[in-house]
């Protein structure tokens, strides 16, 4: 792929990106979230159409209009969200959409045989007659891979394949990938995990912000260099007053917090203590447990073990309402789905937080006069540009929507605040504003848990930085201006904390 351009709504997701993969090679496409890796592969696979550049496959220029064409040309992709029908068997899923011999009366037995051979050739212990619903997530991924091999894929693209695997399953996957390489298949792995890149790949292409950074041979590089490529940036000057008042009182406490899903632990055990007047930034690549963490503290998700403490009190089994009443403010990452009712107007969205307070609801009736007054105050204080109190918030810009959420959640100075991607999708002005407000809260003594995949933000605001990877805290660093960014990058990419660094480690 050469000089691929792809624009979404005027913003370049891919800017003159080039990629070259040789036959019989395992090639990693490395980068942070949003770097443009998946977009590039979706263009190759025919899901998106490129805006510029050329793609050649086996010497010929190609242009796929749909995944079907890619598959016909022996290119296959396993997406992050599996495309399987749970109520059908493995064998039926693999042959879905194909006209097997004897169509439409397939000889199930001979097909199953073929598939069984394929499965055992790669040491996959699944029977073709198993229903997909009975498989584990790892098993489902095997089915997806075998599906590609059954269709004679020569090039396989795997999007974050290890995201859903245990370490043992990852090992098995790597053995299979090696076998594929020996057989002459090419594999492109989209990932953000450096240790795996180092273990299995031949070459690595790093993307950042939609552009090529470098392409290197794996054997000639190391994690330091790779994390530098992946994340490397200059530290911007921080205009944040260090935490002068250091009370030892805890605002938010997490004690061996564990969250499970489908029997697997997706978060923890995780322990953390956020003091009053302190902001801890949770750094990490998206998808390493941030969502579970935020939801567990809010109360939307049950924790299977461990405790959550607000201002010293155990709230692990308290309702969300109770936690809010105790003083928890929550700035959601997905404002349209989690925090706002798009078709309701400003007053009713403000009410979303206030409906349990006496001054707004009396004997079941809503005192709209008070709601209006509060809303007007918020508009003034936070400078929210709105067409009117009575218009649906759908018509507010993203920045103004976020301001509304901030105003609402921060009203009453809640002592504990969770800010989950608080500046996502905002322009510079709105971003500055939000960060300002968070710092103000911090100065007045609130404990703030900042979860963000934007490292600039983490550096600008946090007193301490905790790195989250695979649901566990790799390390907690003091943000004293001397943080080794590369070390941070490696922690984020899964390296354990032992390897030397210059940063002061805390806990």
């Amino acid at each position: 792929m050469k000089d691929i351009d792809k624009y979404f709504f005027g913003k370049a997701a891919n800017d003159k990106v080039s990629l070259e993969v040789k036959p019989g090679e395992i090639h990693a496409l490395l980068g942070e979230n949003g770097a443009g890796k998946t977009t590039l592969m979706n263009i190759l696979y025919g899901i998106y159409q490129r805006d510029g550049g050329r793609i050649t496959w086996k010497g010929e220029e190609i242009h796929f209009g749909s995944p079907r064409e890619a598959i016909d040309n022996r290119i296959g992709m396993v997406h992050q969200h599996f495309m399987l029908v749970p109520t059908l068997t493995v064998s039926q899923n693999i042959t879905l959409g194909l006209k097997s011999e004897g169509h439409p009366f397939p000889n199930r037995r001979s097909i199953d045989e073929k598939i069984r051979e394929l499965l055992s050739a790669y040491n996959v212990h699944i029977s073709p007659t198993d229903k997909v619903s009975s498989l584990s997530v790892g098993g489902e991924q095997w089915v997806e891979i075998i599906k590609l091999l059954y269709r004679n894929a020569e090039l396989l693209i795997l999007d974050e394949p290890t995201a859903v695997l245990t370490p043992q399953e990852t090992e098995r996957l790597f053995r299979v990938l090696e076998k594929l390489r020996q057989e002459g298949h090419s594999v492109i792995i989209i990932t953000h995990r450096i240790p795996e890149v180092l273990e299995i790949t031949d070459r690595v292409t790093i993307l950042r912000d939609g552009r090529n950074v470098a392409t290197v041979h794996t054997s000639e590089t190391d994690s330091v260099e790779l994390s530098h490529y992946m994340i490397g940036r200059e530290l911007k000057t921080i205009s944040r007053t260090p935490n002068t008042v250091s009370p030892q009182e805890e605002g938010l406490g997490l004690d061996e917090l564990t969250v499970e899903e489908n029997g697997r632990s997706v978060l923890g055990p995780l322990s953390l203590s956020v003091r009053k007047g302190e902001m801890i930034g949770i750094a990490g690549v998206d998808g390493n447990g941030q969502k579970y963490l935020a939801e567990a503290v809010l109360g939307v998700r049950d924790c299977s073990a461990g405790k959550v403490r607000l201002l010293g009190g155990d709230v692990s089994s308290a309702s969300i309402q109770k936690r809010k009443d105790m003083g928890l403010g929550y700035i959601a990452e997905d404002r349209q789905n989690d925090a706002l009712i798009m078709d309701m107007d400003m007053r009713e969205n403000v009410l979303l937080r206030m409906y349990s307070k006496r001054e707004y609801v009396k004997t079941g009736f809503i005192k709209y006069a008070n709601v209006d007054e509060t809303a007007k105050e918020m508009i003034e204080t936070y400078n929210i540009k709105t067409a009117g109190l009575g218009k649906p918030v759908r018509y507010l810009s993203g920045g103004n929507q976020q301001k509304l959420i901030l105003a609402r959640e921060l009203a009453g100075s809640p002592p504990v605040i969770i800010a989950f991607h608080p500046t996502r999708g905002l322009d510079i002005g709105a971003t500055e504003f939000v960060r300002q407000k968070l710092l103000e809260r911090r100065a007045s003594g609130s404990s703030i848990l900042l979860i963000s995949s934007d490292l600039d933000e983490i550096f600008a605001l946090s007193d301490r930085i905790a790195v989250l990877f695979h649901g566990k805290i790799m390390a907690v660093l003091e943000n004293d201006g001397n943080v080794d960014v590369n070390y941070l990058g490696r922690l984020m990419a899964g390296e354990s904390a032992e390897s030397g660094s210059n940063s002061r480690r805390v806990e």
Binding site: F8, P67, L84, V85, T87, L96, G97, P104, F105, P106
Partner: protein, 313 residues
């Protein structure tokens, strides 16, 4: 002597049950195809009524049962196509579309009937399909007359059930149909044309539903009147759930309902004072129980009632 009387009564009862169950079976079969592909058609009543009306009109005018049946099928497909367009292309709420169609067709058939026949106290009649006994087999006591001394509709239905079962469970088309209703995204990415499969399944719905309506007029009753289906379309929806969207199951479920109806008639003519409603209520109570027990096993197609929107950029 009592024995033969009893046997004769039993035979007559079973035979009537089977015949009454036929429209439900056919309609249920059509709805099964539709639902398996993800389209819920509450307007099954409209399809049946349309089939009943048009088959009657054409049979009356041409005195030919065959042409009547064709007209009934056409009528059914016409209605189901409207539903298909609204559900697949316009992606509207399928429940409301179905309800609106029910009202529309009810009014339309009544209206047209009045135009053609005017207001008369005697109901116009049409030719009825004759019973065709199958030699030898129809001589078997009880089972013989019940199963093998029926009209062509019944025989066709038996064959249709078998073919439908085979189609769904033993062919690749059936697998594709299932995939479209369960996970249209997966089906789409596997190269299946979700929209086309859904359109075809609604045509099947119209075909069988129209046929079911035709049987009502040309097979069972021999006449047409306003709102002749009187809720059978809704009952067919019940049959689909009771029968777990599985053709042989649908036949069984339809028989249960048919038996309740036949029993009700018997009891009324016999003058037994037990309220027949106890029996007519029976299938619905069972369905609720079935729905309740099937919780967790999630028996309905996951994408049922949800329009498929293909997001491409």
């Amino acid at each position: 002597m009592i024995e033969t009387g009893l046997i004769a009564a039993l035979t007559a009862f079973l035979s009537a049950t089977l015949r009454m169950a036929m429209p439900l079976t056919l309609a249920g079969l059509g709805e099964t195809f539709s639902e398996k592909s993800g389209i819920l058609n509450i307007g099954l009543e409209a399809i049946m009524l349309s089939g009943a009306f048009f088959s009657f009109i054409i049979a009356f005018m041409t005195q030919s049962v065959l042409l009547g049946v064709c007209a009934g099928i056409a009528g059914g497909i016409a209605v189901s196509s409207i539903h298909a367009y609204l559900s697949i292309h316009c992606k509207v709420n399928q429940t409301i579309a179905g309800l609106a169609l029910n009202f529309l067709i009810m009014g339309l058939t009544s209206f047209l009937f009045l135009i053609v026949f005017g207001k008369s106290t005697t109901l116009p009649e049409c030719p009825v399909t004759p019973k065709i006994p199958i030699p030898v087999l129809s001589q078997i006591p009880i089972v013989g007359p019940v199963l093998f001394n029926q009209d062509l509709f019944v025989y066709f239905t038996f064959i249709a059930i078998f073919l439908a079962w085979f189609f769904i469970h033993r062919t690749e088309w059936g697998v594709s149909l299932h995939a479209v209703g369960e996970n249209p995204k997966a089906a789409d990415s596997a190269g299946l044309n979700v929209f086309r499969i859904r359109y075809l399944s609604t045509i099947a719905n119209g075909f069988f539903g129209g046929l079911a309506g035709s049987y009502l007029t040309l097979g069972l009753l021999g006449f047409f009147m306003e709102n002749i289906t009187s809720g059978k379309g809704y009952i067919a929806l019940v049959v689909v759930i009771l029968g777990r969207r599985n053709p042989p199951g649908i036949l069984l479920a339809a028989l249960v309902v048919g038996a309740a109806e036949a029993l009700q008639f018997r009891m009324q003519t016999a003058g037994i004072p037990v309220p027949s409603q106890l029996f007519t209520m029976f299938p619905y109570v069972i369905t609720v129980l079935v729905l309740f027990l099937a919780v967790g096993k999630s028996r309905e197609p996951s994408a049922l009632g949800i329009p498929y929107i293909r997001s491409r950029r």
